[in-house]
């Protein structure tokens, strides 16, 4: 989902469906919303904490992704889209952006 892609690099709290919460820096994500988190702190329901340097979370197991308050998600998504458009333009040799087609990546979120 383009939302998660826009959040790469931010420190997030990911809550799983089994009520585990993982706090760390979002390193990577993909279309299935699988997620790689660096320098993670895993916290149990009871409050037991563990530190893990690198975590891969399967997307189907995620319930929430808590975004830090000061972040404007919409702006980030738009910025990312603009950047991709610019890259597409540059790739075409600076003669103009290709006609905006509905990109499958954007549709499937």
């Amino acid at each position: 989902i383009c939302n998660l892609k826009a959040l790469v690099g931010l420190e997030l709290l990911v809550e799983l469906r089994n009520d585990l919460s993982v706090r760390g820096v979002l390193h990577d994500c993909d279309n299935a919303s699988n997620v790689i988190i660096k320098d993670a702190t895993v916290e149990d329901v009871e409050g037991v904490q563990r530190q893990l340097p690198l975590v891969f979370l399967r997307g189907s197991n995620i319930r929430f992704v808590h975004i830090p308050d000061n972040v404007d998600v919409m702006q980030l998504v738009e910025d990312r889209r603009l950047m991709l458009d610019k890259a597409a333009t540059a790739y075409m040799g600076g003669k103009g952006a290709p006609a905006p087609k509905p990109v499958p990546g954007a549709g499937t979120a």
């Binding site: 989902i1 929430f64 992704v65 600076g94 549709g107």
Partner: protein, 250 residues
């Protein structure tokens, strides 16, 4: 073999009139007097060292005409055209908001209600689920939606239930012994305490009093307990497979 003698043969002497370049190239190890001078690759480079009275020298080179006004104007127009195209593309990119594009496809079906809530910035109540059963509700505003029911919500009041396994000490007969400060005690502490009690009891009792012993041994069992919690979240991304129901609040 290299010839380091100060007086090489005339055809290999760089300064003599009989200098044979081909022979010099074929001679192994022969170094020009200044080995670091840059070679002259084409005629234009040779022009610099020619004396001025030679017709091919630099002074007699044809002067390039300054560009005419027309060509300059033509170039400006071409630049303006390309910049206009680039601006239009940027404008299109800016206007086609990604989230609106995603949402447009959902308008027809049942998600149309959600799309209207997203556009009106209405308050929503979303029911979320555990693996078995309802987890709770989230009341907040929708910032983004997609076809999987993934949502970005902000200003969310969440009321939810969590299934916890609470350790309690149980007698063999099934009597639940409630510990003091049960909620704050961690599992490990309780385990240790139970083990200590069991050990001390085994040491005291004689092997004959087994029945009395088994009555007194307390087991640590985990009981499932449903805990209700409430919290406020400023921004969340909610994955669609946890959503049960969405209700629009007026």
């Amino acid at each position: 073999m290299a010839d380091p003698a100060p007086s090489p043969s005339p055809c290999l002497d760089f300064f003599s009139l009989d200098f044979d370049a081909l022979a010099a190239l074929r001679t192994e190890g022969l170094q020009p007097p200044n080995p670091r001078v840059r070679p002259l690759d084409n005629l234009n480079k040779c022009r610099r060292i020619l004396p001025s009275d030679v017709p091919e020298s630099l002074i007699n080179a044809p002067v390039r005409e300054p560009r005419s006004q027309e060509s300059i104007a033509a170039q400006q127009r071409a630049k303006a055209r390309t910049s206009l195209i680039l601006e239009k593309a940027a404008e299109r990119a800016r206007q086609a908001r990604v989230l609106d594009t995603i949402v447009d496809k959902l308008r027809q079906g049942p998600l149309g209600l959600l799309v209207r809530c997203y556009e009106e910035r209405a308050r929503i109540q979303v029911w979320t689920r555990h693996t078995h059963g309802i987890r709770g509700t989230m009341v907040g505003f929708v910032r983004a939606v997609d076809k999987h029911f993934n949502m970005v919500m902000h200003d969310v009041d969440e009321q939810y239930s969590v299934l916890r396994r609470v350790p309690r000490l149980v007698n063999k007969r099934g009597r639940v012994k409630v510990l003091q400060h049960e909620e704050e005690t961690s599992e490990n502490a309780i385990l240790r305490k139970a083990e200590d009690e069991n050990d001390s009891q085994r040491k005291e009792q004689s092997p004959d009093g087994i029945d009395a012993l088994t009555d007194k041994i307390k087991e640590l069992k985990l009981f499932p307990k449903l805990e209700y919690r409430r919290r406020h979240l400023k921004q969340v991304f909610l994955r669609g497979d946890s959503v049960v129901m969405v209700r629009k609040l007026v």
